[in-house]
C-alpha cells in the first residue's frame, strides 16, 4: 500500500489522467457548444464510437494519424448532421433523436468495424515532450509529455472560453440558446446557427473518439468508448456550460479511470468489478453535487435548452 501513496505513483496516475480525460474533454466541449446553442444531443456516445472507427479506418487507408483524425472529425460531424436535420430542421424530439443516434452509432460501428477488430494501426499519436517545460519536475511529466491531441485540447479550452464569452459570434451562440425568439427578432438565423453548432459538436465528439482509437487504446474494438460519451454529456452539467470547468471535470474523470487501472496494477485488494464501477459511481456523485450546487446558486443551463424553435407557432 505504501507504493500507492508515493509521489511517483501519484505522478503516474496524473500523467495518465490527462490523456484518459482528453477523449472525454473533446466530446464534452462539443456537447457544450451544442447545448449552448440550445440543442441537447444525447448521441455523443454513438458519435464518438463512429469517430473512433473512422479514425482507425482513415489511418489504415492513409498511414497518417492526422488524416485519421480528420476522418474521425468528418464522421462525427456527419453523425451529428443527422441530429441537426431531425431536431433543428424538422423539430423532432431532441432526447429521442439523441438516444437513437447513440444506439445507431454503437450498432453501425460494430457492423462496419468487424474486419478491423484487432488490426494494428500503422500510426498512432505518440508522446511528444515539450522542450524545457517537459523537464519541470513532476509537472513536466504530467502535463508536457503527452500526445499532440492533448496539446491541441490545451489550446482549445481557453479558445472556446474566449469565443463563447468575448466574441460577437459567441454572443449570437448564447442568444440562440437562451432566447431564440429574441435572436430571431434581431436578425440572427436561429436554425442555421443551431445546426452549425450541432455539427461542430459532433466533429469534436468524433475527435474524442480518435483520441481513444489513435491515442490511449490504439486500434478498433466494438464499444471501445465504454460510456465516455455518456459521461461527457453529464460533465457538461457539472461544468456549468463553461469550457474551463469542463477541462477540470474531464481530467477528474481521467484521474478516476487512470487511478483504477493503477490500483489494480498495484495489487490493491479491492474487487476489480468495484474498481470498474468507479467512473460511473463518480458520475452519479458528481451529478448529485453539481445539481445541488446549481440549485443553490441558481445556475441554470441555457434557458432554451432542449426547446425546438419554430417562428410561426403562436403562444
Amino acid at each position: 500500500m505504501d507504493e500507492v501513496l508515493s509521489v511517483a505513483f501519484l505522478t503516474s496516475v496524473l500523467a495518465a489522467a490527462i490523456p484518459a480525460g482528453t477523449a472525454i474533454l473533446y466530446a464534452c466541449l462539443g456537447e457544450l457548444l451544442c447545448e449552448r446553442a440550445g440543442v441537447l444531443n444525447l448521441g455523443v456516445e454513438g458519435m464518438m464510437l463512429m469517430g473512433a472507427l473512422g479514425g482507425v479506418a482513415a489511418t489504415l487507408w492513409s498511414g497518417s494519424v492526422w488524416v485519421g483524425t480528420l476522418g474521425a472529425l468528418l464522421v462525427g460531424a456527419g453523425m451529428a448532421s443527422i441530429h441537426a436535420v431531425l431536431t433543428v430542421g424538422l423539430g423532432a424530439n431532441q432526447v429521442v433523436s439523441g438516444l437513437a443516434l447513440t444506439l445507431f452509432g454503437g450498432g453501425f460501428s460494430a457492423f462496419l468495424g468487424q474486419d478491423l477488430v484487432g488490426r494494428p494501426v500503422p500510426a498512432t499519436f505518440g508522446d511528444l515532450a515539450v522542450p524545457v517545460l517537459a523537464d519541470i519536475p513532476e509537472i513536466g511529466r504530467i502535463l508536457f509529455r503527452q500526445d499532440a491531441l492533448v496539446y491541441v485540447s490545451y489550446a482549445l479550452v481557453p479558445l472556446l472560453w474566449l469565443f463563447i464569452g468575448r466574441t460577437r459570434a459567441g454572443l449570437r451562440l448564447r442568444a440562440v440558446g437562451e432566447r431564440p425568439e429574441a435572436a430571431d427578432a434581431m436578425g440572427v438565423s436561429v436554425g442555421r446557427l443551431r445546426a452549425l453548432y450541432v455539427v461542430l459538436g459532433g466533429a469534436l465528439a468524433g475527435v474524442g473518439g480518435a483520441a481513444i482509437s489513435l491515442g490511449t487504446n490504439p486500434g478498433w474494438q466494438e464499444g471501445m468508448t465504454a460510456g465516455r460519451g455518456r459521461i461527457a454529456v453529464a460533465l457538461v452539467i457539472f461544468a456549468g456550460w463553461n469550457p474551463l470547468r469542463a477541462a477540470l471535470g474531464a481530467y477528474l474523470f481521467g484521474g478516476v479511470e487512470a487511478g483504477q487501472f493503477r490500483l489494480q496494477g498495484a495489487g490493491v485488494p479491492v474487487s476489480s468489478f468495484f474498481l470498474n464501477m468507479l467512473p460511473y459511481l463518480f458520475t452519479i456523485a458528481v451529478l448529485v453535487l453539481a445539481t445541488r450546487e446549481a440549485a443553490r446558486r441558481r445556475l441554470g443551463g441555457p434557458a432554451a435548452l432542449g426547446r425546438p424553435y419554430a417562428r410561426e407557432e403562436r403562444g
Binding site: 459567441g170 448564447r174 435572436a183 430571431d184 434581431m186
Partner: protein, 526 residues
C-alpha cells in the same frame, strides 16, 4: 434606409393571414405616415398583433402587398424589416435576460471585428437615451431591470439600429401611470422628429391622448380609420365591439361601491415571505386581511410579487416566513389540495399552465377539483354518467361556447377557457377566491361575464383577493386596493374615490411625500 417624406411610411393593402382555421387578418388595408403616432385598436384577438408581426417581418402574409416608404417590399425575416427601418417592440420583450443592455443592442448587428466590444455602443446608448428620455444603464444585465426599463431598452435598440418606423404592441399594459405618461412623451418627441409610430392598444383614453390617427380592427378586418381629434371613446368603442358596451364607455370607477364589508376575516397574511423563481426574495413581509363579502384588489407593476403572492396562498410556492391563515386556521405551506379543500378557489395567472389541461377534453377539465369524491368517483373508478351530467351543467351555466364536453380544451378561445375555469373553481361555493388577471387575454363579452361572476360571489359572502394589472378592473370590482412594490404592501386605499395618480405613485414605490429606495434588487422582470 428609405425615407421619403411624401410617401406613406407604411402602406399595407389587402393583407390576409390565417392560422389553421382562423383568419387572423382578412383583406386589411393599413396606411401610416412619417411624423404621426398611429394607433391600432381592437379587442383581444382582433388581429392587431398579427398585422404588425407581418409588418415586422416575423410572419409572412398569405395575401396582400406591403410598401415601406413608397417602395413595395416582400419581407422574409425581421432582419429585412429592420434593414428597411421597421422595428417592433413586442408585448413579450425580445430581450436575452442574462445579457447586458449593450449586449442585447449588439446582438445581430453587423460590426467590424470578431471581438465583442461594448464601449462605443454604451456611449451611443447614453446619448440616445438622453435625447429621447429613455435613460437606462447600458451595463446593467437585463434581468435586473424593471419592466419599464426593459421596454426602454427595446426602443433604444431599435433607434440604435436606425429604425424610422416603430411599432409598439400594447406598450403601456405593463407600466405605472407615470411610466406610461413618460412613454407617451417619448413617442410624441419621436413623432415630432419625423418617426412613424404605430401604437397598438385597446385602452381608448390612452389612444385618444397619444395618437394622431386611429385605425380600428374587428375580427381581423379594418372597420374604420379616423383622426383622433375627430373621435371619442364612444365612437371608438362602438367600432371596436360592434355594439354599445356600458363598461367600456363609462368610467367603471364611478360605479357605486358599498361600504367595506364587516364579515369575519377569511384570509389573513402576517409577515408573509417567499422566494421568487430566481431565488431572490419576491415577498418581503406581506400583512393583509380579506374579510367575508369583501374584495381586496392587488395592484402593482408586473413582477413585484403578485404571482408569488397568489402561489404562496394557494400552496403552489413555499412560504419562507410568516403565516397564512384561512378561515382562522393556519394554512401556511399546506399542500395545494388541502388548501383547495379548505374552500379556496384559484384563478391562476397562466390558466393553461396552472389551471387547465389543454390536451384534455372539457369534461376532464371540469372535474379536476372533485373527481376523487362521490358522486363522480366510485372506488377507483370515475362514474362516466355523473361526470357527463356535471360537465354539461357547468358548460351550460357559464355559457361556455363549445361543441360539447368531449371537445379538447386547447381549441377553445381564451374567454371560454376562463369561463370554464371560473365555473369549476366557483362550483363548490368557496369562501376565498384568489384570482390573478382573471380577464387577461379574454374578449370584452367574456370580461363582462367574468366580472358579473366575481360580483355575485362577493354578494354571496365570499372573500376575494383580486390581483390585476388593470387599474380600471380593480376600481370596478374591489372594495380596497393594496399596492405591491418589490414584495411589500406600499399602501392600502379604499377603491371608492381612489385617485389613480396616488395609486401610480405607490406602484412606483413612492409613498406619499417620502421616496422609498427604488433600487430593484428583489424582483426579476417578466
Amino acid at each position: 434606409m428609405i425615407h421619403d417624406e411624401r410617401s406613406p411610411a407604411i402602406e399595407m393593402r389587402g393583407i390576409g393571414k390565417r392560422f389553421g382555421a382562423t383568419a387572423a387578418n382578412a383583406d386589411v388595408d393599413f396606411v401610416a405616415r412619417f411624423g404621426e403616432v398611429h394607433a391600432l385598436v381592437g379587442e383581444n384577438g382582433a388581429g392587431k398583433s398579427t398585422l404588425m408581426s407581418i409588418l415586422a417581418g416575423l410572419y409572412r402574409p398569405d395575401a396582400g402587398t406591403l410598401a415601406i416608404g413608397g417602395r413595395p417590399v416582400r419581407l422574409r425575416s425581421p432582419r429585412e424589416a429592420i434593414g428597411l427601418g421597421v422595428g417592433m417592440v413586442y408585448q413579450h420583450f425580445m430581450l436575452v435576460e442574462p445579457f447586458t443592455v449593450a449586449e442585447n443592442v449588439l446582438l445581430g448587428q453587423e460590426r467590424a471585428g470578431p471581438w465583442l466590444e461594448t464601449g462605443a455602443v454604451e456611449r451611443e446608448l447614453r446619448e440616445l437615451g438622453e435625447r429621447y428620455g429613455l435613460a437606462v444603464d447600458p451595463r446593467a444585465p437585463v434581468w435586473t431591470l424593471s419592466v419599464g426599463e426593459q421596454q426602454r431598452v427595446e426602443i433604444l435598440r431599435l433607434l440604435h439600429r436606425g429604425a424610422k418606423i416603430l411599432i409598439l404592441d400594447e406598450p403601456t399594459a405593463v407600466l405605472t401611470p407615470q411610466e406610461a405618461a413618460g412613454l407617451v412623451r417619448t413617442l410624441r418627441g419621436l413623432a415630432a422628429d419625423g418617426f412613424c409610430i404605430v401604437f397598438i392598444s385597446h385602452k381608448l383614453d390612452e389612444v385618444l391622448a397619444v395618437a394622431d390617427r386611429v385605425t380600428v380592427l374587428r375580427r381581423g378586418r379594418v372597420v374604420g380609420s379616423v383622426a383622433a381629434a375627430e373621435s371619442d371613446r364612444r365612437s371608438l368603442a362602438r367600432l371596436m365591439v360592434g355594439r354599445e358596451l356600458a363598461s367600456l364607455v363609462e368610467r367603471p370607477a364611478e360605479e357605486p361601491h358599498e361600504a367595506v364589508a364587516t364579515g369575519e376575516p377569511v384570509l389573513e397574511l402576517a409577515g408573509l415571505r417567499a422566494e421568487g423563481d430566481a431565488g431572490r426574495p419576491a415577498l418581503a413581509g406581506i400583512d393583509l386581511a380579506v374579510r367575508a363579502g369583501e374584495t381586496v384588489g392587488v395592484a402593482g407593476v408586473a413582477g413585484n410579487g403578485q404571482r408569488e403572492l397568489a402561489e404562496t396562498i394557494t400552496g403552489l410556492r413555499r412560504a419562507s416566513g410568516g403565516r397564512v391563515r384561512i378561515g382562522g386556521a393556519d394554512a401556511t405551506n399546506r399542500s395545494p389540495g388541502e388548501i383547495a379543500r379548505a374552500g379556496v378557489a384559484h384563478v391562476p395567472e397562466d390558466r393553461l399552465a396552472d389551471g387547465l389541461i389543454g390536451g384534455m377534453d372539457l369534461a376532464g377539465n371540469a372535474i379536476l377539483r372533485r373527481y376523487r369524491r362521490p358522486p363522480l368517483a366510485r372506488g377507483p373508478f370515475v362514474v362516466a354518467r355523473a361526470v357527463a351530467a356535471f360537465a354539461d351543467r357547468l358548460l351550460k351555466e357559464h355559457g361556455v361556447a363549445a361543441p360539447g364536453r368531449r371537445t379538447r380544451l386547447g381549441t377553445l378561445s381564451g374567454g371560454n377557457q376562463q369561463k370554464l375555469l371560473l365555473g369549476r373553481e366557483l362550483a363548490g361555493e368557496p369562501r376565498l377566491i384568489v384570482a390573478v388577471h382573471p380577464t387577461r387575454g379574454v374578449d370584452v363579452g367574456a370580461t363582462e361575464a367574468i366580472h358579473a361572476l366575481l360580483r355575485a360571489q362577493r354578494e354571496r359572502g365570499a372573500a376575494t383577493l383580486l390581483i390585476s394589472e388593470d387599474l380600471d378592473e380593480l376600481l370596478a370590482l374591489a372594495d380596497r386596493i393594496a399596492v405591491l412594490f418589490e414584495g411589500r404592501v406600499m399602501g392600502i386605499v379604499p377603491a371608492a374615490g381612489a385617485d389613480p395618480e396616488r395609486l401610480g405613485l405607490l406602484m412606483a414605490g413612492v409613498d406619499g411625500g417620502g421616496v422609498a429606495p427604488v433600487r430593484r434588487v428583489a424582483v426579476a422582470g417578466g
